[in-house]
Amino acid sequence: MTDNELIEKTNAALAEEFELDITLLTPEASFKDDLGLDSLDAVDMVIVLEQKFGIKIGKDPKIIQITNMADLYAYIIAKKNELAA
């Protein structure tokens, strides 16, 4: 899966689960200010991503630092690369 496909799959999963307008899911979009996601949504987002990509995120300290879509894309791409290695 290419990086772009990963990004598209991430956007599709988040748009469906959190009932978000997919056009809002841009790299600059902030979880809180632009997408209106709260701390509970962040916990659910981890579950959605784990289920969607078959990756283990759990309580990874790196995920707590993520506040926007660009960082999330980078995190998922890195996780997938780790799995592939």
Binding site: E19, G36, D38, S39, L40, D44, I47, V48
Partner: protein, 280 residues
């Protein structure tokens, strides 16, 4: 171009006078009802405490509930006000009421609920409203902006254990365009964790009656539909995201009832008519 006559302008004048009458009556009634509540609250509180059926918070919540009933009665003098619900016996006292949020007036509309021991989970600003703040504090309302989710969950659980009814507007704020917004999942997570039923309430017309940020009321019909309780156990098989499935289900139910009706009938959609989605 034909010249406009007085007769042509008559419907507009009549509509304006109707609005003027509605505003004068509404605000006069609001002031009188609020003053009356402030005056009678202490003796009613004392009576409720002395007969021993109510603790302090419960007595204040009962007074607020009467105040809400008074508002509903008052507003029904000026605009068509329709309320639909099943048998009041079908609604448990300990439940989570989830309603869409269109106007400041929505909270008063919940005076139509058959439950009286109501605790609202609200943001900070309503606590700053003169006269209301002290009542809200004494009624043990939750200020969601001043607590973490864990604190909210613990305090809400405590209130549900004491057979109170939690009221939550899951959109978090009033809609600015009349459309149903995205639901935050706190109410549903609370329901799943405590096994407490959710009572969905659909409110229509209050955005036209008293729009967000406005003071001039419009004589627009208001419809309240109190839907049958949804049992969280029926969603448990959806696993760790069960609360989100329940949230979508309840949101859909509320959306289906969000169009104003002109007749007061019993067109409640029962859960059996809106089957809960089956997991994969």
């Amino acid at each position: 171009m034909p010249k406009k006559t007085f007769m042509d302008a008559l419907p507009k004048i009549a509509a304006f006078l109707r609005e003027l009458f509605c505003n004068a009556g509404f605000y006069t009634g609001f002031v009188l009802l609020t003053l009356l509540t402030i005056i009678v609250s202490p003796p009613v509180y004392l009576v409720l405490r002395l007969i021993g059926t109510h603790d302090s918070g419960q007595a204040v919540r009962r007074i607020i509930w009467f105040y809400g009933k008074g508002w509903v009665w008052l507003i029904a003098r000026f605009v068509p006000f329709h309320m639909t619900m099943d048998d009041p016996q079908d609604y448990p006292q300990s439940c989570i009421v989830v309603a869409n949020h269109l106007s400041f007036f929505d909270a008063f509309c919940l005076g139509t609920l058959p439950m009286y021991n109501l605790v609202f989970a609200v943001r900070s600003w309503p606590f700053k409203i003169p006269f209301y703040g002290p009542y809200m504090h004494r009624a043990k309302y939750l200020n969601t902006e001043r607590m973490s989710y864990e604190d909210f969950l613990n305090q809400a659980k405590e209130r549900l254990n004491q057979h109170m009814t939690m009221i939550i507007f899951p959109e978090g704020t009033r809609s600015t365009n009349g459309e149903l917004g995205r639901f935050h999942s706190g109410a549903f997570k609370l329901a799943m964790e405590t096994g407490t039923p959710i009572v969905p309430v659909s409110i229509s017309g209050t955005d036209r009656f008293l729009p967000k940020g406005k003071l001039w009321v419009k004589p627009h019909p208001i419809t309240i539909t109190i839907l049958p309780p949804a049992d969280p156990k029926l969603f448990a098989h959806f696993g760790p995201l069960a609360h989100r499935t329940m949230s979508k289900y309840v949101r859909d139910l509320i959306a289906q009832h969000s169009t104003p009706s002109t007749t007061c009938n019993t067109d409640c959609v029962h859960l059996s008519e809106n089957p809960i989605p089956q997991g994969e």
